[in-house]
């Protein structure tokens, strides 16, 4: 295999990895603050994919434009979900939270199965097959899909907005305070319940945005959901639970590792490589690559 092929796959891995990273970022934000593991994360990603798919086929709305209303919708869903369903479970043991969210995941994925059936759906964007030929000197020209570049760029923009929100706004600082010291946050008069709901909403907005972008990259079927949940977990653990930059780094690593593994070994073996990475990270740096807190 030629160098240019590997280079192409590498670039492709980086670009998809950024979108995965955005999805994982949602999980990381929720866990980092609310301390609830969203076991329905991949299911929400697939729900967003179908939302973008429907908007595209029915209204011919480009997924890159649909991203904004879908993220807003998911923000609202997340807010309501935390307020109504998850808040009473915050003090319950992990396995109870697990059952609640697994129940939700089962409902989501099978609801989609009822409506759309098991077949893979494809959003055929007018520029789906456009690409750039990038000269690289020694390796010759490599082909880069335009749609992947757009998706990765959009993912970076959304991540940037979220970073800015947490760093520069008062509400963002308040949410970080809840994550750092819950009792302290309550003592100084922060409305923890509202901030938790806001955090869950932001986490789901990330998933909504990521799902809209993923429709441009890959076919959608309900069966993707559990593997996305696992993927998000793997990325977040590798990057470090609760670390925002870690989620992006983890996404990049997993994106590249899976892309390279699928040509170097076999496409069906690619997730084996991510799990091997996961085990290595857990063994040698359990807090994740960018995590601060000891596990």
């Amino acid at each position: 295999m030629s160098l240019s092929l590997y280079l192409e796959v590498l670039v492709q891995g980086v670009l998809s990895g950024l979108v995965y990273g955005l999805m994982a970022l949602g999980l990381s934000v929720i866990f980092g603050v609310v301390r609830v593991v969203n076991f329905a994360h991949g299911e929400f990603a697939v729900l967003a994919m179908y939302a973008a798919f429907v908007l595209f086929t029915a209204l011919n709305l480009d997924p890159f434009l649909a991203m904004a209303p879908i993220a807003a919708l998911f923000f609202a869903i997340g807010y309501g979900l935390q307020r109504v369903l998850i808040n009473p479970f915050i003090t319950r043991p992990e396995h109870d939270q697990f059952i609640l969210l697994v129940g939700l995941a089962i409902i989501l994925v099978n609801g989609l199965l009822m409506i759309f059936g098991p077949d893979a759906r494809h959003a055929n964007l007018p520029y789906s097959f456009d690409s750039w030929f990038v000269p690289t000197g020694i390796a010759g020209e490599i082909i880069v899909d335009k749609v992947r570049v757009y998706a990765a760029g959009a993912a970076l923009v959304v991540c940037g907005l979220l970073f800015a929100f947490f760093r520069f706004t008062l509400v963002g600082a308040a949410i970080r305070a809840c994550a750092d010291n819950l009792v302290g946050a309550a003592v100084v008069g922060l409305d923890v319940k509202r901030l938790y709901a806001l955090t869950f909403a932001l986490g789901l907005a990330c998933v909504g945005a990521a799902g809209s972008l993923m429709v441009a990259l890959t076919d959608v079927t309900p069966m993707l959901a559990p593997s996305f949940t696992l993927l998000a977990f793997t990325i977040v653990i590798i990057g470090g639970l609760g670390s925002m930059a870690g989620a992006l780094l983890g996404g990049l690593l997993i994106g590249v590792a899976e892309a390279v593994a699928s040509i170097a070994i076999a496409p069906s073996m690619k997730s084996m490589v991510s799990f091997a990475l996961l085990v290595l990270v857990l063994a040698f740096r359990p807090q994740g690559l960018m995590g601060k807190r000891a596990a």
């Binding site: 129940g103 939700l104 089962i106 099978n110 085990v279 857990l282 596990a295």
Partner: protein, 333 residues
């Protein structure tokens, strides 16, 4: 041991258990073939739920990858039988041995490197997924195309675990009852009390001189070994094995629903959970078919709704509430 169990268990509980067992022993006389198969499933889920509960309920270790041990147990025994002609009674020792070894490796990795809580759960999922993909590519054991056990119309020899529905009914019942007894004994053993101490507060347990690492390892190893025997049963009952369905995360989840719904850490919880969830699943199939909702996924949506409702309404599982209703007092010391 048995005598102590009999002494410490409330009389009313013993009587009710005896009645239930007698009822189940006689039940096949009144059940048709379909219902017998449902009961076999109930017993199977009660068995593996009990095995999982040793880790979660007793030692506080949330494993989300127990399908790994089912799969390993099933594949080892089935491959030995099909490829080498080794019967299941010999094969199950190897099944258990391999599962115990893998469980010990996961446990060692987890506990030596202080991987706790959610991280440990993720580790168990990762290993189950690696096994699923690995077996997908393991040509010798059939790979993704599956591994099949020979089925003959005469049934075959019982010592090769070949038999009709009734044979498997009583085998599954024996396993479920055996696991229940074993867990009851473990729960009241020195090890059982160490587990509870570790579960409630690992640091405090360590301060009391309990070897936390050994207690946790014991839980993983016992749970893995027991679960793998459930896998052997699975292989010889269904006669076919595919890496996808056997190792999939959805199977791991399916296995742990019964003990959680029934009541984590209780002895009868896994049994009660299995008696509720398996018939619920079957009933939902029947109802959705009767109403004409044949779209794939309909049954599962209702199942998901039931799970959420139960976990919202009964925080500690259903058994503690039912126990009070039945008037069973807390155990005598």
């Amino acid at each position: 041991m048995i005598a102590r169990l009999l002494r410490t268990t409330p009389t009313r509980a013993l009587v009710l258990l005896g009645l239930l067992l007698a009822l189940l022993l006689l039940a096949p006389m009144a059940l048709d073939r379909y219902l017998v198969s449902v009961f076999i499933l109930v017993f199977w889920f009660a068995y593996v739920g009990q095995a999982w509960n040793v880790m979660m309920g007793f030692a506080g270790l949330l494993s989300l990858g127990h399908a790994l041990y089912v799969g390993l147990g099933a594949y080892v025994a089935a491959a030995l039988f099909v490829k080498l002609g080794v019967g299941p009674w010999a094969g199950l020792w190897l099944s258990a041995l391999l599962s115990v070894a893998v469980g010990a490796a996961i446990g060692w990795l987890g506990f030596r490197f202080r991987i706790e809580g959610v991280y440990f759960s993720l580790l168990t999922i990762a290993f189950a997924e690696v096994a699923r993909i690995g077996f997908d590519h393991l040509g010798w054991a059939g790979g993704a195309a599956g591994l099949f056990l020979p089925v003959s119309s005469e049934g075959g020899a019982w010592w090769n675990l070949r038999g009709g529905p009734l044979f498997f009914y009583y085998l599954a019942l024996t396993m479920a009852a055996g696991a229940f007894l074993l867990c009851a004994a473990l729960r009241h053993s020195r090890l059982g009390y160490r587990w509870l101490a570790v579960r409630e507060d690992a640091e405090a347990a360590r301060a009391l001189g309990i070897d936390v690492f050994r207690a946790r390892m014991a839980a993983v190893v016992i749970s893995a070994g027991l679960t793998s025997l459930g896998g052997v049963f699975y292989a010889f009952y269904y006669n076919n094995l595919f890496p996808g369905p056997v190792f999939d995360i959805s199977r791991s989840i399916e296995m742990i629903l019964a003990p959680i719904i029934g009541g984590v850490g209780t002895l009868f919880g896994p049994v009660l959970g299995a008696f509720i969830l398996t018939p619920l699943g079957e009933a939902l199939i029947a109802i959705t078919n009767a109403v004409g909702l044949n779209a794939p996924g309909t049954k599962a949506v209702f199942y998901g709704v039931c799970l959420m409702v139960i976990v919202i309404l009964a925080p500690n599982g259903l058994w503690p509430a039912l126990k009070r209703r039945l008037g069973i007092p807390e155990e005598k010391a």
